[in-house]
């Protein structure tokens, strides 16, 4: 066989192809096609409107009572506003957590936890964690902070900035995700082996270690009444394994049947509880969409179509706001109820290395604020609420 330089041949093919002139009638051709399509869509739409009008008329005849449903005007959310840009103690993906109202942001990284006053953009406390921090969570009263390192979970007293307790771990692995119950009495942690641990915060004792049936826990959230926890898994399916979402009954220490998503259906699963008590799960997929599931009713609520593939997804605790990243590191913030994106995030420069997870990005419980640690040592906070 004689040696062939493939790259050379490809280059010459490319050079010749680049010299080719585009066809002059390409644009008029496309416009003709689009106009034809618009006409046919208009015809179909007109037919549909006619059918609806007739159906409405028929219903009116059947039902004479006045049943006018007045829909409140849907407020259009304002575009996100950059309200703070904080500089962390060095580069790396910092782990973030908001206090309940979003006034304070905990930024953990490089063996230290810094508490920031978001409004004033000043550091108000520095806690020496002595180890890499995997997760942080504020207690609802804002006086206690929980942080996890590889072999322990520590409760910090924020008034004295001292360690108040170290919680017993048992057979539990490192807690990748922590959350307090809404009354602050229980702390829950999820690990990479799919186990959920519950601690009694006042007694500093372990209540239970439960197997959730999920391969690796990425996200967890308490229901507003504290009686159940929803747990979302890592990647149902890039690995081919059908991971999913589980709801845990806290009082009975029992797991309700897990909702399995089809293998290959998406990336990390974010979970939330809506104010009405139904659990939500959001899964981003390589097929350019994010599927939102009603876990309680086991139905698909919405499919948010995105212009690119979705790698990481984060939900606010009430399920109203969702942030997602694509392979280019761009972040899109969504209003889940309106199925619409909320506009660009000013000041943020996407980096391919950036990956959104509940560690690197967090929303306040009501979704009114989004914080992101971009990996270079900058922390961005945007306000996403209505004016």
């Amino acid at each position: 066989m004689s040696p062939v330089n493939v790259e050379e041949r490809l280059r010459s093919l490319r050079e010749q192809a680049l010299r080719r002139e585009a066809q002059p009638d390409a644009w008029p051709r496309l416009q003709r096609r689009l106009r034809r399509r618009a006409r046919s869509v208009r015809t179909v739409a007109a037919a549909a409107v006619l059918v609806l009008v007739l159906a409405g008329f028929a219903l009116r005849l059947l039902d004479n009572r006045d049943r006018v449903v007045v829909r409140p005007p849907q407020p259009v959310p304002a575009a996100p506003k950059l309200i703070a840009r904080l500089t962390a103690n060095g580069p790396g993906g910092h782990t973030l957590a908001f206090s309940t109202e979003g006034k304070t942001l905990a930024v953990a990284g490089n063996h230290r936890i810094t508490l920031w006053d978001v409004g004033r953009q000043t550091a108000i406390a520095r806690l020496d964690a002595a180890d890499a921090v995997a997760a942080v969570a504020f207690a609802p009263d804002g006086r206690t902070l929980a942080s996890s390192a590889y072999d322990r979970v520590v409760l910090w007293d924020l008034a004295s900035r001292a360690r108040r307790a170290t919680l017993p771990m048992g057979t539990f692995n490192i807690a990748d995700r922590l959350a307090f119950s809404p009354d602050g009495k229980i702390l829950a942690g999820g690990d990479g082996g799919g186990k959920l641990i519950l601690w009694d915060v006042a007694r500093r004792s372990r209540l239970a270690i439960l197997s959730t049936g999920i391969g690796s826990i990425n996200d967890l959230a308490f229901r507003a009444d504290g009686r159940s926890v929803v747990v979302g898994g890592n990647g149902p399916g890039y690995s081919g394994r059908g991971d999913g979402v589980a709801i845990i009954d806290v009082a009975r220490r029992r797991r309700l049947p897990a909702l399995r998503m089809p293998a290959g259906s998406g990336s990390y699963t974010a979970v939330a509880f809506r104010p009405d008590g139904t659990a939500l799960a959001a899964v981003g997929s390589l097929q350019h969409d994010i599927t939102v599931w009603d876990v309680t009713r086991r139905t698909r609520l919405a499919t948010l179509t995105t212009p690119s593939q979705v790698l990481g997804v984060v939900l606010s605790r009430d399920g109203g706001r969702l942030a997602a990243t694509n392979p280019r590191g761009e972040v899109t913030l969504w209003d889940v109820g309106r199925h619409a994106p909320l506009g660009p995030l000013p000041g943020f420069h996407p980096r391919r290395e950036f990956f959104l997870s509940p560690r690197t990005g967090t929303l306040t419980d009501d979704g009114g604020r989004l914080a992101i640690s971009d990996g270079t040592g900058s922390i961005f906070v945007w306000s996403t609420s209505n004016p």
Binding site: M1, P3, V4, V6, R9, A17, L34
Partner: protein, 175 residues
Amino acid sequence: MDVRPGRDEELGRLFEVHYADMVRLGFYLTGSWAVGEDLAQEAFVRLWRRWGRLRDHHAALGYLRTTVVNLSRSALRRRLLELRHQRTINEEGHDADPVARLDVARALAALPARKRACVVLRHLVELSVEETAAVLGISTGSVKSQTHKGLRLLEAALSDRDDRAARHAQEVKEQ
């Protein structure tokens, strides 16, 4: 749904910037300029249809590329049938398109779909490994391995052809 002036204008701009590139991408993938034109047209029609969900320029380019690659798979099957038909014409010397006649374009069109897409996006469109992975919806690891395997297959196909051509020339000379 209507052809709004804003959307039309923006589409026109995108068309100006990207259309020729999309035709080339379609050509690289199928070995036919006519099919390349068709694929690019179809990709723009689909872009226009999902306009509301797709705003920024950068996203549009990624969408166009992915669409052309996906469409090329079904278009390629049609193209292979055409090729069989065309070969008889070529032998009579009627092929008006010198670029399409290049062996490398043919060999490329004969590669398995994913390897072909990887070689085209990496070496002809000159995308990065990450961009290629995003267009094809596969991992960067498999982009690297598929590109490598694709190049080796291409090399084998071309050297095989060269050998045959050389042998043929030799035979002609000897006669």
